[in-house]
C-alpha cells in the first residue's frame, strides 16, 4: 500500500486561540504589589499585670481625637509639625531636662553611646479617621528614619536604607539599638463614634 501523506493541520487559527488566552490573562492580572507600614502588635497581656512605670519626661504623648485634631504633649499641633517635634524629642540634642533621659549602652561600631529612653505613646479615639492615624504613624516613622539616616551617613557614609539593601546587618542593628522605634498604642477611648 502506498503511504499516504498526512494532511497538514491548519495553524491559521492558532493566533486566535493565543489571543483569546492573552486577553484572559490581561483581564485577570493584577500587577500591583502590596506596600504597607509594617508594625508589630504587642502580645496580649493578662489583666492582672500592671504596666511598668515610665517617667513622664520619657513619654511623647500624641493624641488624635474624633475631630481629626492632634494634641502633642498637651499642645495642639498640625500634622506637618509632628515629624520635627518627634525628632527633637527622640534625639534630645541639647540634653534638655524636660526631654527624655539617657542610658549609656555599649553598641558595636559606636562604643559607649547614650541611648535615649524615649517612648512615643499614640492614643486615638474610636472616631479618629484611619487616614489621620496612618499619617501620624507615617510621620513618626519618618522621624525615626531620618534620625537613623543621619546617623548612618555620619558614621558609615551611607543612608540607612542603603545599609539594609547591602545586607550590613550588624551596622543596621547597631543603629537600631541607638534609635529604637518605640511606639506604644493605648487602648482607644470610647468617644465620638
Amino acid at each position: 500500500m502506498a503511504k499516504r501523506d498526512t494532511p497538514e493541520i491548519n495553524a491559521g487559527s492558532m493566533a486566535d486561540i493565543a489571543f483569546l488566552l492573552l486577553v484572559f490573562f490581561l483581564v485577570t492580572t493584577t500587577m500591583d504589589s502590596d506596600f504597607g507600614l509594617m508594625r508589630k502588635l504587642p502580645p496580649p497581656v493578662p489583666d492582672d499585670v500592671e504596666s511598668p512605670p515610665i517617667k513622664e519626661r520619657n513619654v511623647f504623648v500624641v493624641l488624635a481625637n474624633a475631630q481629626n485634631k492632634l494634641l502633642v504633649e498637651g499642645e495642639p499641633m498640625e500634622i506637618g509639625q509632628l515629624k520635627d517635634a518627634a525628632k527633637e524629642f527622640i534625639a534630645n540634642p541639647k540634653r534638655d531636662k524636660k526631654l527624655p533621659d539617657f542610658k549609656t549602652v555599649d553598641v558595636p561600631f559606636f562604643g559607649k553611646t547614650d541611648v535615649s529612653k524615649q517612648v512615643i505613646s499614640l492614643q486615638n479615639d474610636r472616631g479618629t479617621s484611619y487616614e489621620l492615624y496612618i499619617q501620624v504613624q507615617n510621620e513618626l516613622a519618618r522621624a525615626y528614619n531620618e534620625l537613623r539616616n543621619e546617623l548612618a551617613r555620619e558614621k558609615f557614609g551611607k543612608s540607612f536604607d542603603r545599609l539594609k539593601e547591602d545586607g550590613a546587618d550588624e551596622k543596621v542593628k547597631a543603629i537600631r539599638t541607638i534609635y529604637p522605634q518605640r511606639i506604644s498604642e493605648a487602648e482607644p477611648k470610647n468617644v465620638g463614634e
Partner: protein, 157 residues
C-alpha cells in the same frame, strides 16, 4: 527606458503574518508568568491612604488579608463600615478562627512569619480597626502591615 522596468502599477507585497502567533505567544507567556490572580472579589470600597515610609510585602503566600470599608452595594448592606474576610462579610469575632485556619494551612515553621495586611479605606473610623487589632493580638498574629499607596517623599523635591 530601462528594460528592467515592469509595466503597470507596482503591487505592494502583503506583509507576512505567519510570525504573528509567535509574537502573541510571547506576550501570552509574559502575562502568564507575571500574573497574580486576584485574591478575592471585593465587597467593600477601599480607597487606601498614602504613606511614604513603607515596605514591600514579601512572601505573598504568608499574607492574610483583612478588608475594611463601606459596602459597595449600599442599598443592600447599608453604609456602615464592614469587615471582609475571604469572600464574605465578617465580624471582629470571626478573625480569630480565620487566623487559626490560616495557621493550619501553612508550615509550622512559617507561622511566626504570617503577616496580616490590613486594607482599610481612608474614611473608616479607628474603632473598627482597633477591634480587629485586638482580635489579632488575641489570636497571636502580631505582624501586621497597614496597606497604603506609595506617596512620593515630600523631602526629595
Amino acid at each position: 527606458m530601462s528594460k528592467f522596468k515592469k509595466g503597470g502599477a507596482d503591487k505592494q507585497p502583503a506583509i507576512s503574518t505567519s510570525s504573528l502567533p509567535d509574537i502573541v505567544f510571547m506576550l501570552l507567556f509574559f502575562f502568564m508568568v507575571s500574573t497574580v490572580m486576584r485574591e478575592v472579589d471585593l465587597k467593600v470600597e477601599i480607597n487606601q491612604p498614602e504613606a511614604s515610609e513603607i515596605e514591600k510585602l514579601k512572601q505573598k503566600a504568608l499574607v492574610n488579608y483583612v478588608y475594611i470599608g463601606e459596602p459597595i452595594e449600599k442599598e443592600r448592606y447599608g453604609t456602615a463600615s464592614r469587615i471582609q474576610l475571604n469572600d464574605a462579610f465578617a465580624t471582629p469575632k470571626d478573625i480569630g478562627p480565620y487566623i487559626e485556619t490560616r495557621k493550619t494551612e501553612v508550615d509550622e515553621a512559617e507561622i511566626p512569619l504570617l503577616t496580616t495586611s490590613l486594607k482599610v479605606d481612608r474614611d473608616v473610623k479607628m474603632g473598627i480597626v482597633t477591634d480587629v487589632k485586638q482580635e489579632l493580638r488575641e489570636a497571636q498574629s502580631l505582624k501586621i502591615s497597614y496597606s497604603t499607596l506609595e506617596k512620593a517623599d515630600v523631602n526629595s523635591f
